[in-house]
Every structure is written in structure tokens, then in C-alpha cells.
Amino acid sequence: MKVGFIGLGTMGRPMALHLQRAGHELFVWARRPESVAGLPASVAVTAAELGRCCEVVFTVINSSADVEAVALGKDGLGEGMVPGSVLVDCSTIAPDVARHISARLSEKGIDMVDAPVSGGAQGAIDATLAIMAGGDGAVLERVRPLLECLGQRIVHVGPGGAGQVAKACNQMIMVAAIEAAAEAMRLAAASGVDCGKVKQALAGGSAASRVLDVMGARMVSRDFAAGIEARLHHKDFGLVLEAARKVGVSMPLTATVAQQLNALMAQGWGRDDTASLLRVLELE
């Protein structure tokens, strides 16, 4: 199949390569041409041109505004993609923006699936991403073989935007768990107890979690080099709180964690790992 890919960063690049290795013909476009250097792919001059020659186009882009510009803007995908082709957006963006893009593309007969992922750079490299999809079920089935090149767990959550809602839920739970781990480490250290031993003791019990394993280890070894850049979680929390506001629900814990992330940003740690939430607690 002819597959387009836009957004070839830490996540996008290994994902695109998996599709190419599975035997698909890869087309790419990037705002900065240097980011597509060395890829076994045809390079398009505009997103519209890429859209014109592909049956399915993937996007993995950082912000709602950028996804909207690539999909609906001048020389964007909407100007090139043909009726019956599918946009699979793996970016993390606001659910209502995903719905808006989907509605606009459907006026031209273009289908869209929102398919944000969880699992980080390692998951992208290992092709073990969790994929949460929103959109029409029949359209999802058409692109499922492609998604299976990227991850093992593909869940059709619901109609357009539902994938982004699931991703928002994922981010809330994960970052709140990082904050909980950081606070536990802080309490242990302030009480004169060895953090590493506490983490080791907890691993066998009810508080065990992947976040405690991975992020807890970084906190114990004070390794704050990014895994996941905290600024991305900060961005996601903006989306989550905005989504909560739109439907009028109270999320007191998420709101509090968001403030800790704001403090983290103020320290200039946005490009460090989110385990830096521990360092925010140590400021006090």
C-alpha cells in the first residue's frame, strides 16, 4: 500500500520505518527537509502532494494547531487526499480539534481515525505501542493491518475524538502516578529512609506500577535526562483540563498536578524527564 507519513521525530521515525519494512511504499513530507534525510521513502514537496499519491496518511505532530494546519491549511492534506483515503492521526491533540478536522475532511470524502499512542520512544522502536482509536469502525478495519505494524494493543474506543479522550485519560493517570511516586520518594528521603529500599519494598505490593518501576528508578538514581520530555506532559495537561472544562467536570487532582508541572516549567526543566517532579518538591 502507498502510505504517507508526516512527523518524523522520536516517535514518528521508527513508526514510519516499521511500515516500510512491512512492505509498504513510504512517502514522507516535513517542514524541515533535513528531518526526512536518509529515509527509504519518496519525499513530497507539500503535504497536499503527499496526500494526492497515498491511500493512507499518518501524522505524528506535537500540537493541535500544527495538526490542524497540516490537515486543513494551505497546501495541506485536505487539498490533496482523494475521496476514500484515510488520515490516521497519531498525535496527542484536543478531542474537539480531532472532531473538527474529521468533520471538515469528511466534506471532501476523506476519512479520519484519531489514533493516539502510548508507550513512548521505546514502544515505537519495539512496535509495542498501545493504540487508542476513534472513528468509524469500518474505516478502522481498513487501516488495522497498518496499525498492527506499530503496536499490539489496538482498541476501538468509539467515534471520532474518542481516541483522544482515552489518551487524555491515559495522561491523567500516568502523570498523577509520577507525582505520587515523587511525593513518596520525597517523604522517604525527608524521613531519613533510603529511597531505593522503599521503591524495592513497594514493588511487590499493591502500590506496584510501571510508573513506579521506571520513573521511580530514575528518581532514585537522580537521572533526570529525558525519557519523555516534561514539556509534553505539561502540554497534555493543558488539553486535559480544557477538555474537563468543556464538559463541566471537576478534576481536583489533575488540576493540582498541573500546577506542579507549571512549577517544573518555571525552573526550566521542560526538556528534562517528568521524574523532575521530584525536584519541584525539593524546592520547598
Binding site: H234, F237, G238, L241, A244, R245, V247, G248, V249, S250, M251, P252, A255, T256, A258, Q259, Q260, N262, A263, L264, M265, A266
Partner: protein, 288 residues
């Protein structure tokens, strides 16, 4: 002075009337024609568009709902503007949005002043609003006679956007203040203590505030009629939290308060006064 006034809602209408009473020549425009009736009867001129309203006037004042409305109105104003026009927006919008509108209008030769108010409908009718302004000294000086017809405590806070920063700060204090009084009352009641006596005792000490005195009394009376609607306070706190997110600013108290107001809007209390947050607290603690 020849002044155009745009936006004649709960706040705008009495503010414009006070300008008429102050002897100014007023032209008005509102999206819904019937909103203009009171002002036309009081002697104001009607206009067919923001552009027409601004034509031939020295000062234009807007009082509308949200940033996109202000931007739209001001685009029209710029079309009708004579050189040297001062445009004043008294709505509550994000500081960043106000600054951008100021930049856009400057390109059209219009001096923009952001001048949000505090004091509610009561203050608007009585002409006792607090007015917090941001923008140039000359623009502020030109608008001051109009401000003096509408308000009492008038402060030129700083450069463009500074008025909205002060208003956001005002909403932080009032939002948390209302929640603090409501929590104190919920605390007293759950302990079986008479809330009105607690209010009375606190009024003499450091916990005294206008909110404890006025809003506290309305909580005791269970008078949840607006006043200041909770959806508007929710909107204003959203401006605060968005700005905090953009700046990297840790505001844990405001964040918790904003979530309570989210819940109020979501559970159908949006049209009630923001003091109805007391009812939400009572529900959470099983005090209904």
C-alpha cells in the same frame, strides 16, 4: 465628549446610561436591536454597526462577552475610526488577547485601552465600579472623564494588558474568597455551630472581607440569585489558569477553585451566583 458605546447587556446598559447622565453625547450599538431601546429612550443615538458607531466619535467603549467578540467589534471600530480615536474595552478577557488587540488597533492608528471592571451590576447602576486600566498615558487621560461617570476607584495599572492582569488577580482573590467563606460555613455547620454567629464573630477580625460580609450574608439567606453568575467566574478563572499554564506559574489554590466552578457549571448551577459553590460543598459533605 462624543462617545460610542458597544454592548448593552447587564453591565453595559447601566454604564452607558451613566455616560448619558454625565452629559456626554452617546451613540450605541448592540447585536440585538431591542437591547438598545432603553438607551435610545434616554436620548442616545443608534448605529447600525460598530464601524458606524465609531465614525465621528472621540472615544469608543465596548462591554461584550469574550475575547473573540472584542476582536470582532474592534475590527469594525477600526474601519470607522478617525485619526486619534481612543478605543476602550471594559470586558474581561485574557491579558494576552488584550495586548494583541492593542497591537492590531495601533496599526490602524487607534489607541487601545483595556479597562475591565469589578463591582457587578450593582456597581454599574450606582456608578461605583472599580476600573483597572492598561495602556498609554494619553489614552487613559482621554478616557478618564468617561471612567469617572461609571466608576469610583479608577487606577491606571500599567501598559497594555495590565488592566486585564489586575482583573485576573481580582478574580483569583474573589474566587478563592467565596470558596473560603463557603468552606468556613460548611465547617461550622458540620460542627453543629450557628453559621450566622460565626460570620458575626469573624467580621471584627483579620478574616473580615467584603466577601464575608456581603456574600456571606447572602449564603446565610440562601439567596443564590446573581449577582455574578458562576459560569462567568468559571470563564474568568479559566483565563487565570490558561495564563498560568503559558507562563509556568504554580497556582494551586486557584486551580482547586477553578475545578469547583467547573463542577458548578457542569451540574447546572452556571446561571446561579458564584456563592452557590456553598451548595456544591454541602453536597460533597452530605450536608444537604
Amino acid at each position: 465628549m462624543k462617545i460610542a458605546f458597544i454592548g448593552l447587556g447587564i453591565m453595559g446598559r447601566p454604564m452607558a446610561l451613566n455616560l448619558v447622565k454625565g452629559g456626554h453625547a452617546i451613540t450605541v450599538w448592540a447585536r440585538r436591536a431591542e437591547s438598545m431601546r432603553t438607551l435610545l429612550e434616554a436620548g442616545a443615538q443608534g448605529a447600525a454597526s460598530p464601524a458606524e458607531a465609531s465614525r465621528g466619535n472621540e472615544l469608543v467603549i465596548s462591554m461584550v462577552a469574550d475575547a473573540p467578540d472584542v476582536a470582532e467589534v474592534m475590527r469594525g471600530v477600526a474601519q470607522g475610526a478617525a485619526p486619534g480615536l481612543v478605543a476602550v474595552d471594559m470586558s474581561t478577557i485574557a491579558p494576552a488577547a488584550a495586548r494583541q488587540i492593542g497591537i492590531d488597533l495601533a496599526a490602524a492608528g487607534v489607541d487601545f485601552i483595556d479597562a475591565p471592571v469589578s463591582g457587578g451590576e450593582v456597581g454599574a447602576i450606582a456608578g461605583t465600579l472599580s476600573i483597572m486600566a492598561g495602556g498609554s498615558d494619553t489614552g487613559f487621560a482621554k478616557a478618564l472623564p468617561a471612567f469617572e461617570c461609571m466608576g469610583k476607584n479608577i487606577v491606571h495599572v500599567g501598559a497594555s494588558g495590565a488592566g486585564q492582569v489586575a482583573k485576573a488577580a481580582n478574580q483569583i482573590v474573589t474566587g478563592m474568597g467565596v470558596l473560603a467563606v463557603a468552606e468556613a460555613f460548611a465547617f461550622a455547620a458540620k460542627n453543629g455551630v450557628d453559621r450566622s454567629k460565626v460570620r458575626e464573630a469573624l467580621l471584627g477580625g483579620f478574616a473580615y472581607s467584603k466577601i464575608l460580609e456581603n456574600h456571606g450574608q447572602r449564603m446565610l439567606d440562601r439567596n443564590f440569585k446573581p449577582g455574578f453568575k458562576s459560569w462567568m467566574h468559571e470563564k474568568d478563572l479559566n483565563i487565570v489558569m490558561q495564563t498560568a499554564h503559558e507562563l509556568g506559574l504554580c497556582l494551586p489554590g486557584s486551580a482547586a477553585t477553578a475545578q469547583m466552578f467547573n463542577a458548578m457549571v457542569g451540574s447546572g448551577m452556571g446561571e446561579e451566583d458564584s456563592i452557590a459553590v456553598l451548595k456544591l460543598l454541602e453536597k460533597l459533605s452530605g450536608q444537604e
